[in-house]
Amino acid sequence: MIIGETPPPSGAFGVDAIAMTMRFGDFLALDNVELKVRPGSFHALLGENGAGKSTLVKCIMGYYHATEGDIIVGGREQAIANPKDAHALGLGMVYQHFTLVPAMTVAENLVLARDDVPAVVNWPKEMKELESFLARMPFKVPLSAKVSDISAGERQKCEILKQLYLKRRFLILDEPTSVLTPAEADEVLGMLRDMVVKGELTILMITHKFREVMAFADDVTILRRGKLAGAGKVSELTPDAMARTMIGAEELTVQPPRTGEAGKARLELEKVRALDDAGAVAVHNVSLTVRAGEIVGIAGVSGNGQRQLVEVLAGQRDAEGGEIRVAGDPYHASREEMRRHKMSLLPEEPLKNACVGGMSVADNIAFREFDRAPFASGGWWLNRGAFRDDARKKIGQYKIKTRTPDTPISALSGGNVQRAVLARELAGDVEVLIAANPCFGLDFAAVAQIHAEIMAARNRGAAVLLVSEDLDELLELSDRLVVMFHGEFVYEARTSEADLTVVGRHMAGH
């Protein structure tokens, strides 16, 4: 097949990437990696952050040009110079984040995506064609609804439909379910699986959810630090074996067992209201009590007010109404109150929310204590030696990988930035801990360490509020589970008694 020639009108084809090597300067992102996706199969690509999954797919899609290696599409070697070539070959990619225009309708988005949009669109004709196209598809989406009005699940379906509408028959999905509830994820993947089984489609899915791999994928390829770590049939593997292959011989921090009972109410929210940046109500009169020695998890699909709630607790946003009490005292997120009540905060995106990128690791670790001895002499003069000594100690204790304590924190990887924040927030006594997506985008070792620290804080008697978009994390850690939807708490249960389908239904607002 020649690039530019239309691919055969139907039927799945396979893609092989052979001996792929990709260098960025001195950094070897891919080292002689092989990926074989059989025609008409559902293939999972597993690996930790930074293992090279995205680099590999971007080479296939023509965003990057591999330093060495060949791409074979449908049995023929192809030179894919840019994404347009890849599209012409029938390769399509669905990204983690949406690429639809929110203010336009679904139909407009679909037509807009075509390469050959006419100058004047004959909408009655296009609508007819779209309807007949949709009739052949397993997904149903409301064509004339605005994208901003449909749910995340429907948007993800639109993204996939868009690829199918553009006649792409090899789909690369980059963590497609990260914004979906478990039920939505199962529905979307199930339908794709049916199309694969019928031989209409080949799918390569980047993921780190073993549950989805076990349920939907035929084959799996696992990368570790830019190298092929393993490949095989999913039916012959267990999640444990895959996890071991992903992380290699690295020792994970062992999470302490859950011990002790919940004590007195420590953090109380009463009818807290908050607005988002646009001035719309994001948090609507929520009330909640977190007791000492208890982890309360807040579940919900991203964008349901969790961020604004955490910002209020972190002092980054003013509440519009309601009251927050810590150990019975009113709380306004002042330094003095945070100190008195031994509060710790682990916000999401720590570099953006809790660090100053240009300041050193040592400085960043000292943010909570810099105005007290031994960091400050007489309450005003900075004692530089104390900063460095303390940082050295914590760098060792929290396994922070940094060249020196004086390195700017922005030079560290995400996991190490979060470790530095952990060192700052959890080194002393903790009575109240507020964590928001603390493990987002981190590797296994960092996740295990953070989970262990959170559980240890709980066992020492801290009241922990854990806001997360990762339901597995919440089920693993929390004692109680609350679901947040459209700024309200719509469901609450003891985690041990929570029913996953009921939780998922509430996350979707039903």
């Binding site: 012959e236 292959t245 011989a249 972190a314 997120a333 002042s334 990128g357 400050a376 940094t402 060249r403």
Partner: protein, 370 residues
């Protein structure tokens, strides 16, 4: 399933021994801070050379006279230092708020209000011992200028008004207040052509550093710049300011009182410019009139940017720009260039300095490998 041999785990939890990155890479940031503004200055001088060549003058003559007029003789050195003194102080008015991420360009307004306050204090305390009057002038100048810029900070913090715009607009308000007072209730009836306040009195002037013609304002400037440096880099207050300036969200999450930081820094910044106004009155003019609006406040912005907002770097940069302005007279006399040529040069320097900002971190041979 095929599995490759597990590769060795990296050493964790230690400060990893990294290969020595070499002198250039280790000091990359510092070298950049000198190299880039230096190159910007050189570029600006080259373009200015083309500008004077269009007038039919030899650019090499220009550079010689600039050097000669600024640093060639003891006389020109004194002239330069006298001009540098207020520049150090007005540059602090931009550099201090910059630590908090604010862009304040209203030093000129704080200078005028500071001068007016200092003059008022001196006139009100006529007859008291000179030292008392001088101290009162310093306090009045600093307080007046400080409150003026604090107004900008408060408008930003409590009403969401952009501090750059408000501080600039406050310059014109300050000028209007000054004109109103010197032409009205504070006018010295004897000042006919140039409405002015009455003289503060020769005894109350702060005079020159012994053995020179350079007034004490230079010492005020040096002390203020060094104090500002210590405040920002060695005190708890400065640390908090740098946290808030680096990332306001991080400052809030550790409970730092951002409003208090903003108001205090703005007061100190305005106080520095107000002190410049006091110095101009007490060391140069002896009274307040429209002469004070000589543009020191605006040149101070240029000094602060060229010094990368570093209080210590402000000192040499202020001397350099003081020199450029000191050489203006010589350029006019020897080359027949218009007096405003020096302003053209300042404008070109500003454009180059702002444009050179894009170069930081992009100079290949200074980059680390990792």
């Amino acid at each position: 399933m095929t599995t490759e041999a597990a590769d060795s785990t990296e050493a964790v939890g230690t400060i990893a021994p990294a290969a020595d990155p070499g002198f250039l890479q280790r000091h990359g940031a510092t070298i950049e801070y000198i190299l880039i503004p230096g190159a910007a200055l050189a570029g600006a001088l080259a373009v200015f050379g083309i500008f004077v060549a269009m007038f039919g003058k030899n650019p090499l003559d220009l550079y010689f006279y600039m050097y000669y007029g600024a640093f060639g003789t003891w006389f020109s050195w004194q002239n330069t230092l006298t001009r540098a003194a207020p520049l150090v102080l007005t540059a602090l008015c931009t550099a201090l708020p910059a630590q908090l991420g604010m862009v304040i360009i209203g030093g000129e307004g704080a200078l005028l209000i500071g001068a007016l306050s200092a003059t008022s204090a001196a006139l009100a305390l006529q007859g008291l011992p000179p030292l008392v009057v001088q101290i009162a002038m310093v306090i009045a100048g600093v307080t007046g200028g400080g409150l003026w810029i604090m107004l900008s900070g408060a408008l930003r913090q409590y009403r969401g008004v952009n501090e750059t715009i408000s501080s600039l607009l406050l310059v014109y308000i300050a000028l209007a207040i000054l004109n109103h007072l010197v032409e009205g209730m504070m006018r010295d009836p004897a000042s006919l052509n140039k409405p002015s306040t009455r003289e503060i009195g020769a005894a109350n002037m702060i005079g020159s550093i012994p053995g020179t013609d350079v007034h004490w304002g230079l010492v005020f400037g040096l002390v203020a710049a060094i104090a500002a440096y210590i405040l920002i880099y060695h005190t708890v207050f400065g640390f908090a300011a740098r946290v808030a300036g680096g990332n306001i969200r991080a400052a809030k999450i550790v409970g730092l009182g951002v409003s208090k930081l903003i108001l205090t820094i703005c007061f100190l910044a305005g106080g520095a410019a107000g002190l410049a106004g006091m110095v101009e009155v007490a060391a140069v003019q002896g009274r307040t009139n429209a002469n004070l609006a000589a543009g020191y406040g605006f040149t101070g912005i240029l000094v602060a940017f060229l010094a990368r907002q570093n209080p210590l770097a402000i000192i040499p940069v202020a001397i350099l720009l003081g020199g450029i302005s000191a050489s203006g007279g010589l350029l006019q006399r020897r080359l027949g260039l218009p007096d405003a040529s020096v302003l053209v040069l300042q404008g070109i320097i500003f454009v180059f300095v702002l444009a050179s900002d894009a170069l930081y971190g992009r100079i290949g041979f200074l980059k680390g490998k990792s």
